[in-house]
Structure formats: C-alpha cells, structure tokens
C-alpha cells in the first residue's frame, strides 16, 4: 500500500486464518460463511464465467474464478487447419474486439513467411483496430455504469457503438466478425465517402461521451461507489502481468503502441492516457479519455493515409502454403491490454502451435482473485467490469 492512500488499507481482523498449505481455514458448517456463486447465469458477470465467492456477512473472504464455459479449443483446431483456413476462425476468439486476433495472426504469419504487407494495408489495419477499440470501450462504459444500476449510460453508448458498427459494415461487410485483415494485407480499400460518414460518427461518439461524462463521471453517487474501491498497487503491475488501461490507471505508462510501435503508430501523434490511484473510478476515467485519443487517432489516420497503392502483398498459393520452421510473438495494444499471438511453425502447411495471450488471462484469474478479497458483495460486479475482463480470451 502506498503512503498517500492510507484509507485503502483493508481490515483483516475478520479474515479467516490460513492453514499450513496456504489455503484459508473456512468451515462452511459453522454458519459464519456462505458460498455464493456469481455466474455463469448472472447479469453481473462479464460474459460466461463465474466467480465462487465465500462471504462473511457482506464481505468477500475468498473468491475463485471459474472459466472454461466458452472453451472451443481454438489452439487445437488451428493445428489441423491450413494457414488460410485459420484466418476465418481466429476472430471468433474475442467478440467485442475481434480485429486484434486477425491482425496478430496475420502479422505473425507474415513475419514467419517473410512477407511484408503494403503500407496502405497497414494504415487500414490501424484504422480498423482503432475503430474496434472505440467499440470495445463504449461497451465497457455501458457495462460499468450498468453494474452500478445506471442503465441509461448503456443505452447511449450502445447506440454510439451501433453507429460505429455501421461504419464497420460498409468497410468490411459485417457487423461483428469482420474477417478483413488477411495474412498479406487487407481485403479492400475504403469505400466512397467513408471519411465524411466517419467524421459524423466520430462527432456522435464525442457528444455521447460528453453526456456520459456529465451523467456518470460528475455523479456524486457514482463517485461514492467507485472512488477508493478496487485499488491496484503499481507494484503489482509487473508481478501480476497487468497491462493496458488497468496498468495505465495505476500510473505505469504501459502502452504497446508507444513502447513497441507496430503498424504505423510511430507516425501518429498521441500520448498514452495515465491515471493515478487505480481505483474503479480512475480506470473508468482512463478508458473514457482513451476513447478520445482513439477518436483523434482515427482522424489522424484518415488524414494521413495513402489513398492509392496495393492492398495485398504477393502471397504464395494459399492452398499449398508452407512456412519454414520458426517461432514468433506478435503483440498489439487492445482495449483491455496486451494482446498477443505466439506462433510456432514446423515447415508444414499447418501451424505447429498457436498460443493466444489475452489480457484477461491475468486480469480475470489471478488479479481478480486477489482483489476480490475484503470487498463488499455489491462491489464485485463493478470490480469485474472495471478490470474489463472478457472470458473467451482466457480459455479460447
């Protein structure tokens, strides 16, 4: 615990004693504790996962995350698909922001196959990733407010997200799963008049954000519920593998777009959004400001991107595409943190192993289990949303 925040010190006097093997000495039969399952069929859970809470009064003494409800075995399925057959299924791993799967997979394949995607494709990729980021954050803001009973925010932000999905639709032809970033480039260029409609959408997003700021962030009750709750110590950031806004809200400037610029991010002008005292409120605020950064980035990309040039690099016949033995790791900064693909090839036409590193993997399991202790039951849902966890990227 830091010096400047003494009121975050938890009271552990009621806490059960630890047994020799490190587990807690909880005797359910004593009637002092209650097992409470939050999820998977529970509106306060982020997606299809569950938390097994042991509560004492209103206070959580132990929380265990249970995942695996969405396990489809992607990493196994990809081992028996050719490189191009993997491309349509990767985006199914993560629903709110599927484009990062496509980008990371495409970039990993390109790197191992020695292909360089054309510059114009890189710009369009970055555009899509930023649009997806705005979508994902809009979903988050609605969820965060909804977890505290402020449903109206969810209505507004989902409407703005729907507008952004319209732009996706005219660019890629699909609402959720775009399948646009292929190994080698992108499928298509921007349609006619896209910039103008994009600008209108961005204005709508900004005005929604202004309403959200007025109703949510200036709201006394919202502040009362979130300030000082769910604090992340900056010292935990590295040991728990915290990335993205969760880390940035703690004051650690972890942003892959700045640290290891990929695509064309080195040509764009932006600063990672930082916060202090990573409680639920700060994390929500960091994400709100991050949307503004993304809105600005989309404008910059549209202003700077080349309008002519190839969209696809020359790719060998995808039916007989063999990639020599190698391994690589490609990462990108998605709205929840560092998203990465670890790809191993063995010279055949199929990947040897694909491993997806989703940011929720660390956030929702080890970090959540630590943070949930000593929390009020009422705050569990709000905390889970504020970590922006998303279960499919944990279990794939």
């Amino acid at each position: 615990m830091t010096q400047n925040a003494p009121f975050f010190t938890p009271d552990r006097s009621q806490y059960p004693a630890k047994k020799a093997d490190g587990t807690l000495d909880i005797d359910i039969a004593s009637g002092k504790y209650l097992k409470l399952w939050q999820g998977p069929n529970h509106p306060g859970i982020t997606g299809n996962m569950s938390v097994e809470l042991t509560v004492c009064g209103d206070e959580v003494v132990e929380g265990k995350t249970h995942v695996g409800y969405l396990h489809r075995g992607f990493e196994k399925l990809m081992e028996r698909r050719t490189f191009i057959q993997c491309f349509p299924i990767v985006c199914r791993i993560c629903v709110p922001e599927p484009d990062f799967n496509e980008y990371c997979y495409a970039a990993a394949v390109e790197e191992l196959a020695g292909i360089k995607s054309p510059e114009r494709a890189d710009w369009i990729r970055a555009l899509i990733l930023e649009m997806g980021r705005i979508n994902s954050y809009m979903m988050y803001l609605g969820g965060q407010a909804g977890a505290l009973g402020l449903g109206v925010i969810g209505q507004w932000t989902t409407y703005a997200r729907d507008l952004m999905l319209d732009r996706f639709e005219e660019l890629t032809g699909a609402r959720i799963y775009h399948m646009f970033i292929m190994p080698g480039g992108v499928r298509d260029g921007l349609p006619e008049g896209f910039d103008k409609r994009m600008e209108e959408t961005l204005r709508e997003v900004e005005s929604t954000l202004k309403d959200v700021y007025d109703v949510m962030f200036c709201n006394a009750v919202f502040k009362k519920r979130t300030v000082g709750v769910g604090y992340i110590d900056p010292a935990l950031v590295d040991s728990y593998g915290i990335t993205g806004p969760n880390a940035r809200a703690a004051g650690v400037a972890k942003d892959v777009r700045k640290d290891q610029p990929y695509l064309i991010y080195s040509q764009l002008d932006f600063e990672p959004v930082l916060g202090q005292d990573s409680d639920i409120f700060t994390r929500a605020d960091v994400r709100r400001r991050d949307v503004l950064v993304s809105v600005d980035l989309v404008r910059q990309i549209l202003a700077k991107m080349p309008r002519t040039g190839p969209l696809m690099a020359t790719v060998p016949n995808v039916l007989h595409w063999k990639i020599p033995r190698g391994e690589t790791y490609i990462r990108g900064e998605c709205s929840r943190g560092e998203y990465g693909y670890y790809l191993v090839t063995d010279g055949s036409g199929y990947p040897r192993r694909v491993n997806v590193r989703g940011p929720s993997y660390t956030h929702a399991v080890s970090l959540l289990e630590r943070m949930i202790v000593n929390l009020n039951i009422s705050d569990v849902a709000s905390l889970m949303v504020s970590l922006h966890t998303y279960p499919p990227e944990i279990e794939r």
Partner: protein
C-alpha cells in the same frame, strides 16, 4: 398433501441414498410431467396470445451471440417494443436463447437453467454452431446438435445472426406460440429418458440430480 411433498428416500447421483423432506430440503429427482393445455379453447387462446406478446428471455449469454443482445435492448433495435424483456433469473423466464456454441461445461448449466424455467418454456438456438456445429464442427468441447439435448423451437442461422434476424426470429416464435405449437416443455417431459441419455453421454461428470425443477 401432494405426493411430491412427502418425505422419501432418494438415491443421489453419487450412489448414496439419503432421506429428503421436500418441504425443508431443496432436492427433486422427480421427472417432469406433461402439462397439456388445461382450459377451454378461448381461455387457452387468450393465454397463448399473452404468452406470445410477453416473452421473457433468460439473460444467460452462453456464447458469442450474447453480444448482439445488448443492441437488441438499446435504441437501434429495441426489442422491448415487441414485448420482449430480459429477466435475470430462470424462474421468471419463458424463453431461453442459446446464444451460440455450447461447450459441455456450459451445456450442464444450460440444462439446469432450462429445467428451472416454468412450463411453457421455449428455446431458440442462435447461430449455425447450434445447428450443426458450424465453425466448431471438429471441436472436442462443443456440442454439434442442440436439439439432441434440449427441445428447440426455432433456429436462427448465421455466424453470428444480425439483430434484425433475431427480431424476425422473435416474430416467428410468437406465431408458433399463438398457434399453440411451441410445446417444447411437454416434448421434453415426454422424451425425458432420451434427452437424459443424450445429455449424460456428453457430460461425463454428471453430479447433479436428474431433474431439478
């Protein structure tokens, strides 16, 4: 006193026999009963109309299709106009939207949730993965045919189906209910043994009562 409320000895899923007092313990292993339309046609028609105009969906996002539920609740699509609402508890829900692939782990929870819903209850299978496995046709962890495990009234195809498709699906569901054809709960009760056998074949650690209300 009803038979089902009397004290009796039951055999748990782990093979241990124990005594259950239904008024105190919450345990049920009785098979579901077929509940035919009990009233005269006019009343039953009125009820069917009410059932069709007031569809309460169980808010259980079992797969990726759940992401299109949010737009349905919000300004662009607004399913509340059509009497469709979301309820957080299975007791009060009438329609279970299986939103996408079901892993065996989720299937177990889905079965429990379904059985806790009240008769009449309906199931909509969303997405091609509930129809024939879809993208996950060779996956070791997802079921390929939803109607083997739960009585499905309606499938909505697509990966994933758009909200418009869902709205159209709800309208079709309404027509089914109004015509009195959506009797999934009775179908489930009639073919209970068959459904249970199918379910137990894919859920390897069956550690719950065979049927929980």
């Amino acid at each position: 006193m009803k038979d089902e409320l009397k004290i009796r000895v039951v055999k748990g899923p782990d093979g241990v026999e124990f005594e259950v007092e239904p008024l105190k313990d919450y345990y049920c292993e009785a098979a579901p009963t077929v509940m035919p339309a009990a009233y005269i046609k006019v009343v039953e028609d009125l009820f069917n109309w009410a059932r069709s105009e007031s569809i309460w969906i169980l808010g259980f996002g079992t797969g990726c299709g759940a992401i299109e539920m949010r737009p349905l609740m919000t300004p662009r699509f607004d399913a509340y106009r059509f009497g469709v609402q979301w309820r957080p508890t299975p007791r009060q829900a009438n329609l279970f939207v299986i939103s996408g692939y079901l892993s065996t782990k989720t299937l177990k929870r889905a079965i429990r949730s379904y059985e806790q819903m009240q008769n009449p209850k309906y199931v909509i299978g969303l997405g091609s993965c509930t129809i024939n496995g879809g993208m996950y046709w060779d996956s070791y962890n997802t079921i390929k045919r939803l109607d083997d495990y739960l009585p499905v009234d309606l499938y909505i195809a697509g990966c994933m189906p758009r909200p418009e498709a869902l709205l159209a699906g709800f309208q079709d569901m309404k027509k089914l209910i109004r015509a009195g054809k959506a009797e999934g709960a009775n179908l489930y009760a009639e073919n209970f043994e068959w459904y249970k056998a199918n379910q137990k074949r894919v859920i390897h650690d069956w550690d719950m009562p065979d049927y929980n209300w």
